[in-house]
């Protein structure tokens, strides 16, 4: 469903991502790992249209998506989350989810403003869908809390739930487990697993190796913008170059 060929992005003279090839099949969960600064988030920004690649091809569901604006890529079903918890902080959890339902059911400007009976029904459907997703990810009883009052773990879950409300075919999760305690990691991991079980293809950036390896069937390792390894978690764990990158990369680079 996703085919990336020779993806390259320069920042000045520096190649943040260079010649990346990546294939994803419907229904799999792939981990994208690598040391800090390896270019993982840049890959996400390129895939979701927030950055334009310097070179390369991104084919999603058979169509080239390079050069499209992020919202139209999202409309095609490629949804990303952000590394830092990004939420609409003046809203409640439920309001966040309702905004996230923007793509379906679709509502035009006039429909929303003129309040036809059809649009009222759509608004009810939006509310229903938001509540259903809140229940699915375990945000129940917290949906009316304003965002700043949510516990950290639930903020991240809300983040993921909002991406889910946009009905992704391919979901890009950027470090969903960052800064969490063990209980929260277990909770969020199980949410991710449930989303995957329900049929969403997932590309996951994660620093927590244990969690990432237990979630993903396949992993891709980046270092200095290049793919240095790809394979099952077992293979990655034993791969010399990967170990080198994580443990001794700094000296090698110098």
């Amino acid at each position: 469903m996703l085919e990336v060929r020779g993806l390259t992005r320069f920042f000045g003279g520096l190649a943040a991502v260079s010649d990346l090839d990546l294939n994803m099949i419907r229904g799999e969960m792939v981990g994208l790992i690598g040391p800090n600064g390896a270019g993982k988030t840049t890959v996400f920004n390129l895939l979701s249209g927030f950055l334009r690649p310097s070179r390369g091809k991104i084919i999603f569901e058979g169509k080239e998506i390079i050069g499209q604006r992020p919202h139209s890529i999202a409309e095609k079903g490629l949804i990303r989350t952000f590394q830092a918890t990004t939420l609409f902080t003046d809203f409640t959890a439920l309001q966040n989810l309702m905004v996230a339902c923007h793509l379906n059911p679709k509502m035009s400007f006039w429909e929303a403003v003129l309040h036809f009976s059809g649009s009222r029904r759509k608004e009810e459907r939006i509310l229903e869908k938001a509540l259903q997703i809140a229940r699915f990810v375990g945000l129940k009883d917290m949906e009316h809390l304003p965002v700043p009052k949510l516990p950290h773990g639930y903020k991240r879950i809300l983040n993921i739930a909002m991406a889910l409300a946009a009905e992704p075919k391919l979901l890009l999760l950027d470090e969903p487990l960052a800064g969490m305690n063990t209980a929260e990691i277990a909770e969020v991991s199980s949410v991710i697993n449930r989303i995957w079980q329900a049929g969403t293809t997932i590309l996951l950036i994660e620093h927590n190796m244990r969690a990432a390896m237990s979630l993903c069937q396949r992993m891709v390792v980046l270092n200095f913008g290049r793919k240095i390894a790809e394979g099952s978690p077992e293979e990655i764990r034993r791969n010399e170059e990967v170990i080198q990158a994580y443990l001794g990369g700094a000296e090698n680079a110098a």
């Binding site: 927030f50 992020p70 999202a74 990004t86 609409f88 003046d90 793509l103 991406a163 946009a166």
Partner: protein, 324 residues
């Protein structure tokens, strides 16, 4: 709760009746002028708030009034349009101009957007000043015709020879504008605009065309400013490049800041009070910018959410006491 439900519509209805009957009590023509001015400023402030909700602050809202005013005046005087068509087209031209400049402009955020709207307003002013053959240059346009009379045979005749007629004209404009803005306020559009305001990359990542919504807010807001400008031109019958200058745009920003942008009523309150203040202190009129600046500073320091924010605070305290 039930009591407020009962009294609130009653209060609004009372206010509406009062506003409709006001010309019966107000005999002084000048006082009516002040009320008409309040109406224009309310349209200006409320339409600016729509732009502000999307996270953009326009410091050139007055330029949209200029565009509306000149469009209507020129269409009526040079091409023989009816003033009613002129009024609508004044708004539409402002809308289209905002649509065209909106797409490049909204790429800029925060202070940079505000700055470019200042430059835009300056460009509008210069074009009007220099395009003498059409706009009359710095002298402006004199003796713009009054609106075409409305005649319902046997019932009423509005020929706009007295201020009372203009008062009702302004009142209808304000009510229509507020009605349309209120419909937007209570729809999903406001929620989307607020979300774009809070975190536009997140909104974009969820499939919201943030550029389109920002431009939409900007052009809708400009539409109403254009209408207000056209009304003003036919009311005052004179128009020049300085009619809606930089200070005018800044005042609009002060109205919504002092009134508060969080509620629909904020700009209405701000525009009304700040239009009245200089009139009540006639002696201070020359120092109006100074007075407004002082009011603005006090507002920012003591009521960051404006007057309506203050009301909310009282309400909350009242509720707390009620519970104790």
């Amino acid at each position: 709760m039930n009591r407020t439900k009962f009294f609130k519509p009653l209060g609004y209805a009372g206010l509406l009746i009062l506003v409709f009957l006001a010309p019966l009590f107000i005999r002084q023509s000048y006082s009516l002028h002040i009320f008409i001015l309040i109406g224009v400023n309310i349209i200006l402030a409320c339409s600016l708030r729509l732009i502000a909700i999307s996270g953009q602050m326009s410091l050139g809202h007055g330029a949209m009034m200029s565009i509306g005013g000149y469009t209507s005046a020129l269409l009526v005087m040079k091409l023989g349009f009816s003033s009613w068509a002129g009024l609508l087209l004044g708004g539409l031209v402002a809308y289209v101009v905002a649509l065209i400049i909106g797409y490049p402009f909204v790429r800029l955020k925060g202070i940079y957007f505000a700055m470019i709207t200042v430059f835009f307003a300056e460009v509008v002013r210069l074009v009007i000043t220099e395009w003498r053959s059409v706009t009359g240059g710095a002298m402006g346009i004199l003796s713009i015709p009054r609106p075409n009379p409305i005649v319902l045979p046997g019932l009423l005749r509005f020929d706009f020879t007295s201020r009372v007629h203009f008062y009702y004209f302004a009142l209808v404009l304000v009510l229509v504008t507020l009605g349309m803005l209120y419909a937007i306020e209570h729809s999903r559009v406001r929620v989307i605009l607020l979300s774009v305001n809070q975190a536009d990359s997140l909104a974009e990542s969820l499939g919201i065309n943030t550029t389109r919504f920002k431009v939409l807010a900007f052009s809708m807001g400009s539409f109403f400013a254009g209408i207000a400008g056209a009304f003003y031109a036919h009311y005052l019958t004179v128009l020049n490049p300085a009619s809606f200058g930089f200070l005018f745009s800044i005042y609009a920003v002060i109205y919504i800041t002092v009134g508060g942008t969080q509620r629909f009523s904020g700009p209405i309150l701000g525009a009304s009070i700040l239009t009245l203040i200089p009139e009540l202190m006639r002696g201070l009129k020359e120092y109006q910018p100074l007075v407004f600046a002082a009011v603005l500073i006090v507002t920012i320091f003591f009521m960051p959410n404006g007057l309506v924010g203050l009301l909310d605070l009282f309400k909350k305290n009242g509720k707390l006491r009620g519970h104790a």
